[in-house]
């Protein structure tokens, strides 16, 4: 049996929606996420795996879980 495919669907959708909502390519969305991470990392001790940028239709959410380690 192959691995459940739902994670792939959610991951693809996440990238697609981010790009749709920003009206840019998935590649640009990735770059934005990376730039935001680097900017925040200048001020806050944070690791890439604890950083998440989420763009909804009306908001940009930046989530980090820095205090957990």
């Amino acid at each position: 049996m192959s691995a459940p495919s739902v994670h792939i669907a959610k991951d693809r959708l996440h990238h697609l929606l981010m790009a749709d909502r920003m009206k840019c390519t998935p590649d640009m969305a990735e770059k934005l996420s990376r730039d935001m991470y680097h900017t925040i990392a200048k001020y806050i001790e944070i690791r890439p795996e604890n950083f998440q940028l989420k763009i909804t239709r009306s908001d940009i959410h930046i989530k980090y879980t820095g205090e957990n380690y």
Binding site: K10, L13, R21, R57
Partner: protein
């Protein structure tokens, strides 16, 4: 004054027309005076799903162009005297109707009907603009697939831009066994992504195909999808009915399915 609801999705083939027909019939079953309007110019479908295709004389474009009076184009449903259909035109070009004309038409109907349901065409072009022009609330239909959810997100964004903020979601054709195996997005996955209130979940059910073949409603029948549509109609009417949990193997529906030997 009636409530004007557009049923839309962005992507085609996710069940807008079937949903429009069954919500219309369900609300009529509840004793409401309902009109369903097919706004898909050139690709008429709602009449066929409702089994009323042989009764069409005039259509939406005839009304707009003044070839007939509004009343002459309305088709009364064969099951419910308080349910009417305004069919679309099969052969006219998509620019035959404007959003302003739709608004005017709807304002005439609002005084007479409790619910005005607009079946929106796929896409985000003129047909979409026409369908949403007079609507105060939208039901977005999606299936748990990447492409359908992506389009639903676009549509919700467009509706919000147009000031239609009372939006709710129907997840159609959920395959419970696939969700349990991890091969289909869960109800929670979809609602989390789209972030609008959930109006209902319709399990994938071959009874829908059978009913549609016959031009008969599924709502009101003793089937998984029939009950789901019934719940949706009652939620529209203001009842608070919880959405069943589809993610666990001992859910109500899987028990029902086992009972009927379908697992």
């Amino acid at each position: 004054m009636g409530e004007v609801i557009v049923i839309t999705s962005g992507k085609g083939g996710v069940g807008k027309t079937t949903t429009t027909a069954n919500i219309g019939i369900g609300l009529a079953q509840a004793g409401k005076k309902v009109i369903v309007i097919d706004t898909d110019l050139g690709l008429r479908n709602l009449d066929v799903v409702m089994g009323l295709e042989n009764k069409i004389v005039y259509n939406l474009v005839d009304v707009i162009e003044g070839n007939c009076r509004l009343r002459q184009a309305l088709i009364r449903d064969k099951r419910f005297a308080e349910l009417y259909l305004l069919p679309s035109a099969q052969t006219r070009d998509k620019s035959a109707v404007s959003p302003g004309q739709m608004q005017k038409l709807i304002s005439e109907l609002e005084t007479e009907f409790d619910y005005i349901l607009l079946d929106c065409p796929a896409g985000i072009e003129q047909g979409f603009e026409n369908a949403v022009a007079g609507a105060e609330r939208a039901i977005i239909v999606t299936t748990p697939e990447v492409s359908a959810i992506r389009d639903a997100d676009r549509i919700i964004g467009l509706l919000e831009t147009k000031g239609i903020k009372k939006n709710s979601l129907i997840i159609n054709r959920l395959r419970i066994e696939m969700v349990q195996k991890g091969d289909m997005m869960t109800v929670e996955d979809v609602t989390e992504i789209l972030a609008i209130p959930l109006l209902g979940v319709i399990p994938d059910d071959e009874q829908v195909v059978i009913a549609t073949n016959q031009g008969e409603p599924i709502v009101g029948t003793d089937s998984l999808s029939g009950h789901a549509y019934d719940h949706i109609c009652r939620r529209i009417l203001g009842e608070e009915i919880p959405i069943p949990d589809f993610s666990h193997s001992d859910s109500f529906f899987s028990r029902v399915r086992r009972l009927f030997g379908k697992n």
